[in-house]
């Protein structure tokens, strides 16, 4: 069966450090992988999209890698800030029709 797995335990880091979140998937062949941020009681907010032929994508302090052989994406936040504390969701579109399938998300807590 198809699965998207993200670290279920919260990631606690200190301000200024780099946070690295993992998304692993099985039985998918996605052309795209997306990362979203979700704050409590709010809707997901799009952060980055990476295509299967891209190894790495950057946007300001964010970096995403995509390894289709390992079936894994890593999401990095450099110079993390307490305002980065949120749940980060990985999402795949395997259908080609933009029906996103989300992972459960990893909560990131950045302490001052």
């Amino acid at each position: 069966s198809q699965k998207i797995e993200q670290n279920s335990e919260a990631l606690n880091i200190q301000e200024g450090k780099t946070a690295t979140l993992t998304c692993n998937y099985t039985n998918y062949s996605p052309a795209y992988l997306q990362w979203y941020r979700q704050d409590p009681g709010r809707g997901p907010v799009f952060l980055l999209l990476i295509r299967e032929n891209e190894k790495e994508k950057r946007k300001e302090r964010l970096k995403v890698t995509f390894d289709t052989t390992l079936k894994q994406s890593l999401f990095h936040i450099t110079a993390s800030q307490p305002a980065d504390s949120a749940t980060y969701l990985c999402a795949l579109d395997d259908s080609g029709y933009s029906t996103l399938t989300f992972g459960k998300g990893t909560m990131l807590l950045v302490s001052p």
């Binding site: 709010r42 969701l89 999402a91």
Partner: protein, 115 residues
């Protein structure tokens, strides 16, 4: 910056009642979606809609659910006879295209509580 809006922010209803959740997608977007998130669980796709028709729907989207674009701006999700297990956050989203590489913009959600 344009955004997706949803009303109401919180809806409380009795089991068996009908509810209509409303969304105003971003104005130049052509593709619309509903997702739901049961408390503590992942965001799940319900349905996508384009050109006044359902494009895709999940197994969750059974006969008690329906969607409509009643006018040029609103997009609605109707649940005909609510069940306790329909209690969740419901998110509307929209995108310019649906190639898979198009960003979906989500609304703030409607929290549905079925008693």
């Amino acid at each position: 910056e344009p955004e997706v809006t949803q009303t109401p922010s919180h809806q409380v209803t009795q089991m068996g009642q009908e509810v209509i959740l409303r969304c105003v997608p971003i104005s130049n977007h052509l593709y619309f979606y509903w997702y739901r998130q049961i408390l503590g669980q992942k965001v799940e796709f319900l349905v996508s809609f384009y050109n006044n028709e359902i494009s895709e729907k999940s197994e969750i989207f059974d006969d008690q659910f329906s969607v409509e674009r009643p006018d040029g701006s609103n997009f609605t999700l109707k649940i005909r006879s609510t069940k306790l297990e329909d209690s969740a956050m419901y998110f509307c989203a929209s995108s310019e295209g649906a190639s898979g590489g198009d960003t979906q913009y989500f609304g703030p959600g409607t929290r549905l509580t079925v008693l």
